[in-house]
């Protein structure tokens, strides 16, 4: 037992892998696969929550497990968590059982499907927990493979294109990051690739501004594509639209967060001068423009504006993700405790809200096999429970106070305003645009006369679907009313990162 509690992070990481292997090797029926997947993901959630119980927010990175891997280049299997990692891991672990539940009746190759998601979960937890640069890179790239399969094998009509586009686009970012990693490896003399050691070395002998700029660019590209940040965002709409429901949920909720996480963990921590320069525009010439803020604000407004005219509800939500992640990146690079912590919390909130939204859209797609808003109308009459849940999640997405979206978005904007008022003011319009495109979609789909037999025949949510949504709804409301625990968890770690930047 102690073995488990002493190595909780490893356990959390390994459980989904064991689940996937279990499905592959030991189950033959679909039922076996379902329950194994559910069991593994629930156990992972329990393990991650256990981590929270023992967690000390002020102690930095903790629960570190280390195993020697490739000593000749200093790579080790080191995992550990700080506030930022932990909250993202918990979110991942929380969503995976819901994804498994929502895929319960998936008609096509269920066993492989569930295996893919468990592998995804493991890869994602690995990304957030990795404390070694090579390990991080491996998990980061590895997460692409199951996602590629999910989109390509179980996706919609245009799935091949979307899957390949997703894979190659994200891979390119990963490759530039690899160049950066190799440079860092050479720079530190090839002794260790552990974060702690690299961090230590970089504080003793900081990189020159020129080196920082190039390395920042190398890492930035990978995470900007992932986040996604304008203008490298166009893989997202296709990937989201063509992916099956659970795939879209995981993509939006977890994979995108790797971008935000990477910004904090690498760009802010190791290249603080370059980050500051690009975030505040304090340099000269090209660097006198706060590019990071400009791109974030453009992303917020542009994503929202394009979402306005999407006829496909999934594509609409995809573009809304671009817009919402713009808020997150804006907060991160505002470089103060309020905005950056809120950026992290908003990553969790966005995962919950947009995950919920995709799940709901998926339920509708399961019944009607169409995603076109024009095909729906007056659904509030035939599916009142569904309409109510949809409206709640929409309200969360447009940052209605009292729900979780607000408690992330508002501090982001308050914090950003103190450093760059114009950015915060423009970004606030994003809230207005979000209300427009989401409420208009709601209006078209759910209100008005019930036109068409298809709309009348649409059945309301089943018990299982309700059980999938209830935890999400509860958490959305709970965080909306009392978010302080999240902030307590995240803020000290953010403060540590920012202290490094300030120097």
């Amino acid at each position: 037992m102690e073995f488990f509690t002493d190595n909780l992070v490893t356990v959390t990481l390994v459980l989904p892998i064991l689940g996937a292997l279990g499905i592959g090797l030991f189950t033959e029926s679909e039922d076996g696969a379902r329950w194994t997947a559910l069991g593994a993901s629930v156990l992972t959630l329990v393990a991650s929550l256990w981590l929270v119980v023992d967690f000390d927010p002020d102690a930095g990175v903790q629960a570190v497990d280390s195993l020697s891997w490739i000593p000749s280049i200093g790579a080790s299997l080191t995992v550990g968590v700080d506030g930022i990692s932990l909250i993202l891991i918990v979110m991942t672990a929380f969503l995976t059982p819901l994804i498994v539940l929502s895929s319960w009746e998936h008609p096509d190759r269920l066993r492989s499907y569930l295996m893919a998601f468990l592998a995804l979960e493991a890869a994602s937890i690995g990304v957030f927990a990795a404390q070694d640069l090579l390990l991080f890179y491996v998990f980061f790239e590895f997460s692409l493979v199951p996602m590629f399969l999910v989109i390509g094998m179980w996706g919609g009509a245009n799935r091949r294109y979307a899957a390949v586009k997703f894979f190659l686009y994200t891979l390119v970012g990963g490759l530039t990051m690899l160049v950066g990693i190799i440079y860092i490896y050479n720079f530190i003399g090839g002794t260790s690739l552990a974060f702690a050691d690299i961090g230590l070395l970089l504080t003793e002998t900081p990189l020159s501004l020129l080196e920082q700029r190039w390395l920042f660019l190398a890492f930035f590209l990978a995470f900007a594509i992932k986040a996604p940040l304008f203008p490298v965002h166009t893989w997202l709409p296709d990937a989201h639209t063509e992916a099956p429901t659970a795939g879209s949920v995981f993509l939006a909720a977890v994979l995108l967060k790797m971008g935000g996480y990477g910004f904090i963990r690498f760009c802010l921590t190791w290249f603080p001068d370059a980050s500051t320069e690009l975030a505040t525009g304090s340099g000269s010439g090209f660097f006198s423009v706060p590019w990071l803020m400009v791109l974030s604000v453009i992303g917020i407004l542009y994503g929202a504006v394009v979402a306005l005219v999407q006829p496909d509800i999934k594509k609409l939500v995809a573009y809304s993700s671009v817009s919402h992640m713009g808020f997150v990146v804006l907060g991160i690079f505002a470089l103060n405790a309020t905005a950056t912590s809120a950026g992290v919390v908003q990553m969790v909130n966005h995962g919950l809200s947009t995950g919920a939204l995709f799940l709901l859209v998926g339920f509708l797609y399961d019944r009607r096999h169409t995603r076109m808003i024009a095909e729906f109308g007056g659904l509030a009459k035939s599916t009142p429970v569904y309409a109510g849940m949809f409206l709640l999640v929409v309200m969360s997405s447009i940052a209605l106070p009292g729900l979780n979206g607000f408690v992330g978005e508002f501090p982001i904007l308050v914090g950003t305003f103190s450093v760059m008022p114009w950015a915060a003011s423009l970004a606030a319009f994003g809230a207005l645009l979000a209300a427009i495109y989401l409420l208009w979609a709601y209006q078209r789909m759910f209100t008005g006369p019930l036109d068409g037999a298809a709309n009348e025949a649409t059945t309301d949510m089943t018990q299982r679907e309700i059980w999938v949504m209830v935890p999400l709804v509860v958490v959305i409301v709970a965080i909306g009313l009392y978010p302080q625990p999240l902030y307590d968890l995240v803020e000290p770690s953010v403060q540590q990162v920012l202290a490094n930047v300030a120097q």
């Binding site: 965002h233 309020t338 408690v407 809230a431 207005l432 209100t447």
Partner: protein, 672 residues
């Protein structure tokens, strides 16, 4: 009950300076439980939704009654105390330098708002029992009403701009749900979306105001332990800062309180059930903007320019809406524009420095406008949801209670003494004149005449003269529920009782509140609003108070006479709407609401839609085109390179020979 975390602040009251700031202390007892007032209706909402049709309206009414009773208790507890009280429930968000708590504020201003909101709320709940009877989603309606009440109560008791904003957006949500209550009709849900989105525009301004306030004050609390609350240190604002903040707050309030340029949602909101119109769009929700401005009056008085802008926005809105109301034909539409106009008066009052006067008009308006809407509902109920006033008339004997209460409300809104509206409207105009805003005063008087005119028109067309309907006539239900036969009769007691209560208040409410300088309401509110002493406005104008009163009354009488001349029972209006005497291009302009809706539609919906489509094209063609282009380039490269693989031996031989020759040349040259 029992020990609750109490926020303890003790200071002396400071008079003079830029603003009157209360000492903020705690007390035990009722005031520490002020957070129950919004919480119980929120629970009522949840319980009613969860328990469904088993509870119908009982939970909601119980919750509302509880809140009303508590509001009364709070009123008595605040009496005699000059201070404001803050009850802190729990932390909300604390990150970095940003700190906000779930905290609630009680002072004299709060109690006035609490009584109005819970009182009128309770009356509307009771009214709804009769009005919504038979509706398939009867219980849901009461749940939403409770939700609204909860949000509105959070709004008025919030002890920081943020908590106020939570309630502010919450009433927006409730409004969305209630306007679109009969969502099967696409027009209703369209109106609901329009309301929410238009309000959101103001919300953006409100948010930016909050960002700015936080950057200036370091907090969003109205009062804090060390006197750094935004109302306490309003003086730190620079002149420009105060102007900016004041204008942002105005813009936020303009959306909620339907002022220029964001009033367009209110007339459309009449699509909702009439109790909703009465409660939200007459008495409470739309007054939130006025409340916000009065609550932040210590900030507003830092900038005379901001206040002047506020005054003019209110004045012009009042005039514009009154003009439009003159030529509307819907029984509720007229009242809607009237509400916009009266809200304009309240905002005008705030802008000229009459904060308490603005609140007074808020209170009396809740009485008579709430009554008017409920009466309109009563009439519509009797006439099978007919909406056009040209299909009404002759209801005096058939619906006596409705008639006489409407009579009282009509006189009140027209500003005839001693009815309630006279006192409040006159005080605002007097304040405007005394503080030197003579042009505003003139426009206000003209608008008062117009108000009397269009309300007389309303009253006469709805109740007086010969009926323009027939007993037994078949009419089609505008809500698409088939046809009904007309058998108009007085409404049930659940509907008429609230009418009577509000009617009584419309008659005596003004006098009872005895609003003069030194009168009851004025003195009551003094500690809670800012003093305008430092603004340098004159105290009195040339004309005396009595002369001003006479001018106001004369204007009202002129309006009433005009209304009777054109629409009174002596005229033959049997032709219906073609008997409308006001015609011509000017009248047409008024009837088409100055084409403002059309203009907004063209600008925002039209241009906005074009912009969105352009952006979507840009995204798929240019940006994605670049991405696909990169893929295309690599594909092309591969295709072209493939051509070298001809499979023919000769090609390969040729390449070999060529390479050898090249190599030889290079070597020879090098050796040289």
């Amino acid at each position: 009950m029992g020990a609750l975390p109490m926020h303890v602040l003790a200071t002396e009251a400071t008079e003079g300076g830029e603003a009157v700031v209360n000492a903020v202390m705690t007390a035990d007892g009722v005031l520490s439980l002020v957070w129950l007032i919004p919480l119980v209706p929120l629970l009522g909402f949840g319980l009613t939704l969860a328990l469904g049709d088993r509870v119908r309206h009982w939970v909601a009414i119980a919750a509302t009654t509880f809140s009303f009773v508590m509001a009364v208790l709070v009123f008595f507890a605040v009496q005699g105390q000059p201070d404001s009280y803050v009850a802190t429930l729990a932390p909300f968000i604390e990150v970095g330098t940003f700190r906000v708590e779930w905290a609630f504020l009680v002072d004299q201003l709060t109690t006035v708002m609490l009584l109005v909101v819970t009182g009128v709320g309770l009356l509307v709940h009771i009214y709804s029992i009769g009005y919504m009877e038979g509706d398939s989603r009867y219980t849901r309606f009461f749940a939403y009403l409770n939700l609204f009440l909860a949000a509105m109560l959070v709004l008025v008791t919030g002890s920081s701009l943020l908590v106020l904003f939570i309630g502010w957006e919450g009433v927006g949500l409730a409004s969305f749900l209630l306007i679109g209550f009969w969502f099967e009709d696409a027009r209703n849900s369209s109106a609901a979306t329009k309301a929410f989105v238009t309000n959101r525009v103001g919300d953006v301004a409100f948010m930016i105001a909050m960002f700015f306030a936080f950057s200036q004050f370091g907090t969003l609390d109205f009062f804090t332990a060390d006197h750094t609350g935004i109302l306490e240190q309003a003086g730190v604002l620079s002149a420009t800062g105060a102007l900016v903040l004041g204008l942002l707050l105005l813009f936020g309030a303009a959306a909620k309180s339907a002022q220029i340029p964001l009033f367009v949602w209110l007339p459309d909101a009449m699509a909702g059930p009439t109790p909703v119109s009465a409660l939200m769009h007459a008495a409470t929700m739309v007054t939130a903007g006025v409340y916000l401005l009065v609550r932040t009056s210590p900030i507003l008085v830092q900038s005379l320019d901001a206040m002047t802008v506020i005054a003019w926005v209110g004045t012009l809105t009042a005039l514009l809406a009154a003009l439009i109301a003159m030529r509307q034909d819907g029984i509720k539409k007229i009242l809607a524009y009237s509400t916009v106009s009266q809200l304009g008066y309240m905002v005008m009052g705030v802008g000229v420095g009459g904060f308490s006067e603005g609140i007074f008009h808020l209170v009396t308006h809740a009485f008579f406008k709430g009554l008017l809407f409920l009466a309109a509902g009563s009439v519509m109920h009797a006439l099978a949801n007919t909406e056009s006033v040209w299909k009404m008339g002759g209801l005096r004997k058939i619906m006596p209670i409705t008639f006489w209460t409407s009579f009282a409300a009509w006189l009140a809104i027209s500003g005839i003494p001693p009815f309630a509206g006279f006192f409040s409207k006159d005080q605002i105009l007097a304040t405007a004149y005394d503080h030197g805003f003579v042009a505003i005063w003139v426009i206000g008087v003209v608008t008062a005449a117009l108000t009397a005119f269009y309300m007389t028109r309303w009253f006469a067309l709805v109740f007086l003269g010969e009926p323009r309907w027939r007993e037994g006539q078949e009419v089609s239900d505008p809500h698409g529920h088939g046809t009904t036969e007309l058998h108009p009769h007085e409404s049930p007691t659940t509907m008429t009782a609230p009418l009577v209560v509000l009617g009584a208040l419309s008659v005596v409410g003004g006098g009872l509140l005895n609003f003069t300088h030194g009168g009851r309401l004025y003195t009551w509110l003094q500690p809670a609003v800012a003093s305008i002493a430092d603004l340098g406005l004159p105290e009195h104008g040339a004309l005396s108070e009595l002369v001003l009163i006479i001018i106001s009354v004369v204007a009202a009488v002129i309006g009433i006479i005009g209304g009777f001349m054109l629409y009174g029972p002596q005229r033959d209006l049997s032709l219906g709407s073609s008997a409308e005497p006001l015609r011509g291009p000017a009248a047409e302009l008024l009837e088409r609401k100055f084409f403002i809706d059309e203009a907004y539609s063209a600008i925002f919906v039209g241009a906005g839609g074009w912009l969105a489509r352009a952006a979507a094209w840009f995204d798929s063609t240019v940006i994605d085109g670049a991405v696909n282009g990169v893929a295309g380039v690599s594909l092309w490269f591969g295709q072209e390179s493939r051509r070298a693989q001809t499979g023919r031996a000769h090609t390969y031989l040729g390449v070999v020979v060529g390479s050898v020759v090249l190599l030889a040349v290079v070597l020879i040259v090098q050796v040289r």
